[in-house]
Each structure stands twice: as C-alpha cells, then as structure tokens.
Symmetry: none
Subunit: 211 residues, 4 copies
C-alpha cells in the first residue's frame, strides 16, 4: 500500500466515524424526545435524514447504537465527576460534589439515566467490554477519592471504599429516579424543595461515613 493510499484510507475511516457520530447524535435526539424504550430505528433514520438501511452500514444491530450512546453518556458522566472533584481539595466535599454532579447530570440530560443506570435490565443488552471499561473508569475515580479521604482520616477506617463507591452509584441514581418519576408526589408532599431534599440525602451519606 502506497503512502497516498494510506491517507485515503485514513480519510475514509474518518468520514465513516463522522457519520457514525451523526447517527449517534440523531439517536440521542430521538431518545431525548421519546425515551429510550420507544427509540426505533425508523425514527433515528428519519432524524438523521438517512434511509433505515443506511444505519445498518454503520451499526450491525440497534443494540449497538444504544451501546454507543451509553458509552457516550458514561464518558460525559466521568467528565463532570472530574469537574466536581477539581472544584475542591477537601475529599469530603469532593464526595458531595460527585453526588451533586450525578443529580445535575441527569437533570440536564433528563432521559440519560435510562442509559447510564439500568436500562440494560429490560432488554437483553449486554455489558460489552467497552461499556465496562467506561464504567470502570468512573468507579476507579470515585474509589480514589474515597481512598484519599481515608488516608486523611476523614472517614471511618473500616470503610470498604469499593463497596461504598457502588453504594454511591446505586443510591444516587435511585434518588435521581425518584425525583424524576415521583416529581409531583414529592413536591406535593415535602415541605422542602427538591434541592433541599437531595441535600438531606447527601448529608446522610456523608455523615454515615465520616470518622
């Protein structure tokens, strides 16, 4: 293969990636409009202004599109966790920031939490290695914050940091879902604002591990 062929091939690959991204973006738009469970190939194709068959040149199955969407959302989540952490030097505050970041992420990407959290349950969607890797990065980041807090004696010496990282995941997603789904019920029932409500959750979590 000549040098110029190399260049052409690389350019073609690049363009293919651009189109793939275009499809992902369209899928995202559709999902944000109708929800993940009603995301259909035909709607994505229409959004992308492509024929349905064309999508299958870039993704073998519908599942693969959703998987890519999930990877994308996890990458974004990682980013905002990193942002949250960088905003303070106090590990306990960093933990708080992570929990808040979770709330804000879902609030500004309303339907994303179908993806990041639990959608896979309903469909047969498997966790691919790439998906797992994306999750792993997030977990590692949170664990590192917790370990740091532990070394500084800010949290109980007995705290299992990996376990608690997952507790943070499970509980915060649960809280966000509750807020999302029972929005009306909560605003009717609670005296507090939803922010204050989420705040109470964060307080309990942090108090629960503080040394």
């Amino acid at each position: 293969m000549t040098h110029s062929e190399d260049i052409l091939k690389a350019r073609a690959e690049e363009e293919k990636d651009i189109r793939r991204q275009h499809i992902i973006k369209s899928a995202e738009a559709v999902m944000l409009r109708v929800g993940l469970s009603k995301l259909s190939i035909s709607a994505v194709a229409k959004e992308a202004k492509l024929a349905q068959g064309t999508l299958y040149l870039y993704f073998k199955k519908k599942e693969d599109i959703i998987a890519q969407l999930t990877v994308k959302s996890r990458e974004e989540l990682l980013k905002i966790f990193q942002d949250g952490i960088s905003q303070s030097d106090d590990p306990l505050q960093q933990i708080r920031n992570i929990l808040y970041a979770n709330l804000h992420f879902y609030q500004s990407n309303k339907l994303y939490h179908d993806l990041v959290s639990f959608y896979e349950a309903n469909s047969g969607l498997e966790e691919t290695p790439i998906l797992q890797a994306a999750s792993q990065k997030i977990t590692n980041l949170v664990v590192s914050v917790l370990e740091n807090a532990k070394q500084q004696g800010l949290v109980k010496a007995s705290l299992n940091t990996t376990d608690f990282a997952f507790v943070m995941w499970g509980t915060s997603v649960g809280m966000v879902q509750l807020i999302e789904v029972k929005h009306t019920l909560l605003t009717n029932t609670l005296n507090s604002s939803l922010d204050a409500f989420y705040n109470h959750y964060v307080d309990v979590m942090v108090d629960g591990i503080t040394a």
Copy 2:
C-alpha cells in the same frame, strides 16, 4: 334518582370492581411468568378467561392495568414493611428491617421491580390519585417509625422525617436495582457478598442519622 336506583348502581359498581380485581390478578400472574416488557393484552385476557375486548370495558388502556398492578405491589410492600416493623421494638432496628424488607421484596418478586421502572420509561404518565394514596400509606408508616425514633432521641433531632422516608425509598430501590441489573459486575468487582454489600449501605444510612 330514587333510592333503589342508588343501591343498584352501587351493587353494579361493586361487581365491576370485582372483575377489575380479577383482571389485575391475571395480569400479575402473566407478568410474573413472562416479565412486564412481554406482558400482552392477549395473554392477560387468556389468563383471565375473558375476551380481549372485555378488558377494555374495565380499563381504557393497557397502561391503566399496569398502573393498578403497581398499586397492588405497593400494597404488598406496605404489608411486608409492617411485618418488618413488628419484628422489633427498637426503632433503629425497625428502620434496618424496612430497608432489608425492600431488598427481600424485590428479590423474591424479581419481576416486580420492572414496575418501578415502568413510569420512567413512560414518563408522560401521571401518578394517579389511587397510586399516590398507596404510596402515601407506605410513607406514613415509615415516617411514624422515624418520628418514634426521634422522640426516643435515637436519631438526630434535626432529621426531617418525611424527607428521610423518601430518601430511604429512593436509595433502597436504587440499591436493589443496582444489585439486580449489575449483578455480574458487582460479584466480579466486589470482595464482599451482595448481602454484605447491601449491609454496608444500611449501615451508612443508619449511621448517617443516628444521634
């Protein structure tokens, strides 16, 4: 309207309710057999030994059946919460029991937690008054336990019991979903057993509010 007409109407309404319950029961049986996502009207009709069309005399949409199913599952949840509470006189232990009850409820009714997720996926739906009432009873029960704990000085005086009741709800459901859906990931990643993992969560929650 005469008095006897009133009576007739009431009796008719009662019978309608009986049949409605029969349909709900059938829907539940189907759901527990095949899962919520594969619950079809035709299967429910067959289970209920009714024609498909008949179901539409009692429910306007499939969604409405599912909503009723949710009410039913909340009623069962209420019952096992009551059981959990009755097993101890110590309010803190009662709180623990409630959280464990939540885990066990979903673990022994695996397919029930699809219901929890259902309203997310169809977030256009409103919580009907009946649904809210069912939730309210649960909330009231939990709040009463928390209030009791507070009066005994076992938990922080500053604790907002209503808020925390909902925090318990949101976080425990989130934990159960995490365990359900990321079962493999968790067992591969954690050193602890899943029971121990959930235990850590409960510890943090209780520690977080203890006086």
Copy 3:
C-alpha cells in the same frame, strides 16, 4: 356446556375453517402467479383482502400456510392417482396411468410441483406428521398396485415394490421438472412432441420391470 352452546361453538369452528380455507386458496392463487419462492404474506393478505395481521389469527407462521398448501396438493394428487387406477384393470396399465397422472397433474397445476416434490429442501420446512401421512397414503396406493402386478406375474418376481414406488416418484417428478424448466430446449432439440417424449420414459419404466 349447554346444547345450544355446543352448536354455537361448532358453528364458530366451522366458520374459522372456512376462513382458513379462504386464506389457503388465496395463498394458492398467489403461488400460481409468482411462484412459491416469492410467496409473501403481504401478497397473500392482499389477495385474501385481509390485513396481514389477520392471517396470523389462522396460521402461526408462514410455513404453516405452505404446509397446508402442500397437504392440499398431495390430497389432490392422491385423488387423481386413484382415478388413473380405476380406469383400467390391468396393473401394468395402472402403473402407466399413475405416471401419466403425475404429468397431467403438474401440467394443469403448473407451480404445484414446487410443493409436492422438493420445496422443503430450500427452506427449513419440516415434514410434519400430517404431511407425512398424506405422502404415506400415496405411497401405499402405488405399492398396492405394484404388489398386485407382482402377484399376477406381470412384473419381475425380484421387484422391490416399495423401492420402485419411490423410483416412480423420483423419476416422474424429475421428468416433469425437466419438461417444465427446459421446455424450450426440449421442443427445439427433440423431434418428438413432449407427450411422445414422456411416453418414452413411461415405456422404459414399464419395460424395465416387466417379467
């Protein structure tokens, strides 16, 4: 169940059967127009003036429609074999009549031989018990003619009648296919008419077994 309910049920079952037959007939019409390999559910539905979904109330799978079509064609084949046999008392002539009947059957039902003979090869279509039973009847009939010929000393004593019944099947279908598919080639190449050509085949077969 009361007597009148019985009657109603029987009538309903009957009507269902009528509709089933209507669909089969429509499928047959489509098949004769476009060939079995291009027979689609949508074309059958259009022909039957029914919605596509309606077909699935009467047949679980497309395959089942084809299977019914096959049974039908085998039943017709059995009938014309019986006719052919009844037209002579001479077993050898009966054998000839069977072979001719095969030709005429396919000539007057051009596309049927896809069904009776070999279609199943191409698709995953299995021989159901009903299908096999239909074939068995035909085989039994032919074998009985051959056995009769043998007892009358008209054919070689060494003739394996079952084997030869299948040889008759295989070769005659092969001949009909050849005539059907290579029609032009044959008329251009042969001096004989196609009838005379088939006649030669029959002669050889009969001469080949005559005592």
Copy 4:
C-alpha cells in the same frame, strides 16, 4: 475502425472475461459455503475482493451470475460424465456409469442441486444460448454413448437416443433430489440402503432399454 483498435478491443474483451470468471468463482465459493438461497451480492463482492458496484459492470443482475454458475456446474458435470465413460468399453456399463456419476456429482457438491431447481423458482427466466450450449455438449456426449450401444445391438433398435438421453437426465436428477430432500423419509421407509435404492433405479432404466 482500424486494425489496432480491433486488437485493443479484443484484448479488453478478454480481460473482461477473466474478471467475469473471477466473479463466478467467488460466487461459487460463497454458494458452497452458505447455499444458493443465501447467496448475496455483498458476500460475493467480499469474496471477490471487489466493490459491490463493480459486479454490476460485469453482470446486469444477480440472476445472471447464477446462470453462469449453472453453466460452470454443467461443465463440471460434462467432465465427470466423460470420466465415467472412459472407465469402461461396454456401452451399457457406460450408461450405468453416467447415471452413477450424476448421483455422485450431486452428493459431493450438495449445494449444486439448488442450481438445478433455481430456474423452476424463477421460471420467468429463459435459458440463455450459453446455458443451452453447455447442456448441448452433455446431451451430445450421452447420445453418442447411446448410439454406440445401439450400433452394437445392445439396446432396442427402436430406442430414440436423443429422447432417452433426456430421460436419463430428467429421471436421474429427480432421483438425486428425492434422495437429498426425502433422505429421512427414505431411510425410515425403505429396507434397502440409499445406494441399493439408486441401484434399483439404474437397473430398471438399463433393463428398460436392453435389447
């Protein structure tokens, strides 16, 4: 048109033919791997290491590729017929060898007999001159064997050799298809082995023409 233009044109035509052959070979490889019914243009293109569009420079339709495939298979058939004939000097044995060769050809190239059926399923198609020429060669060969047998007085003087050549074709292909498709039925029903079964067929055919 000048002389050198002629040469160029001829050379171009030759190259075109080479590529056409390359595509045919690739199509054959795909067919033998996945079967005729699942032979797709994209798979052939991949096998040939050409773009899909390129195939359409050499063949107007997918059908045309399959037609060429048929030509190829007939050429191979011709070769093995010639082999069969060369293995004996006795014309009757040569006839037997030809019939056996047919069986073995399809048995060792299982997927080839899909091709035989192809034109049935698409019976709108005409036999192209090239296809006919390929068939003609085979016919001529068989006829010459039969003529030879006739001159040696081994078969009936009345035998129409051309007709019988086609009878051999039609019946043997029918027998092979029967064995292929009704394999299970035959092995369950017959006492004989399939080889013995085919043997009976050959015996009848030869006995039917022997003087």
